[in-house]
């Protein structure tokens, strides 16, 4: 029962940060929210009994891809943040 509550609140958090990632005007906030979606999805994989997938998602989805997004943002920074 406790794990069901954790899973449901995790789902709500995932959906909220996904909407934030897609809709916010600030690109930095959007990239961080996309990383947050991946991070919480990796906790979800752990609850779904998939530790291998959780490790991969935590290292790649929320680590490396966020870094790549930030390199690109730094490259194109300062023009239009719309």
């Amino acid at each position: 029962m406790l794990s069901l509550i954790i899973m449901i609140s995790l789902s709500v958090l995932i959906l909220a940060s996904a909407i934030l990632a897609v809709q916010t005007k600030n690109l930095v906030v959007a990239v961080i929210a996309a990383g947050l979606v991946s991070l919480m999805a990796s906790i979800g994989y752990l609850l779904l009994a998939a530790p291998d997938v959780a490790m991969t998602e935590a290292a790649i989805g929320s680590g490396l891809s966020t870094i790549i997004f930030f390199y690109v943002l730094n490259r194109v920074r300062g023009r239009d943040n719309g």
Partner: protein
């Protein structure tokens, strides 16, 4: 409601959010972010489909020698095949995201703009 159903429905909603972002956003980087949200949704659906009620991770203990008590193993673990597929899909997802971002850098070098509506060479 079990975990599998929750994960599958969250995955479908994430795909809808991602498509919404891809179709409505003007900034190219926001479109790439939409793709990455879409990716995460697909992975959640695949892992959720493989979940079995009350199953543990598909890792056998050293105590269970091969050949003994196979019925026990089958009853106790979740489906390992979708997990193996998602493992490769995540890595490919990073490669594809990096490729899209390389295109973004290249387009920005050309036109100095991130707005998708300023690239209308093929518009008719």
């Amino acid at each position: 409601m079990d975990f599998g159903q929750i994960a599958v429905s969250v995955g479908f909603l994430l795909i809808l959010i991602g498509v919404w972002g891809i179709l409505t956003q003007k900034n190219i980087i926001k479109i790439v972010i939409g793709f990455s949200v879409f990716d995460t949704g697909l992975h959640m659906i695949m892992v959720g489909i493989g979940y079995v009620k009350g199953g543990t991770a598909p890792i056998l203990d050293g105590a269970i020698a091969p050949g003994t008590a196979p019925i026990n193993i089958v009853a106790g673990i979740v489906d390992p095949v979708p997990q193996a597929l998602v493992l490769t899909a995540i890595v490919i997802g990073l490669g594809v995201t990096a490729l899209m971002l390389a295109y973004v850098v290249r387009l920005y070098e050309d036109r100095k703009s991130l707005d998708i509506s300023s690239y209308e060479d093929l518009k008719w």
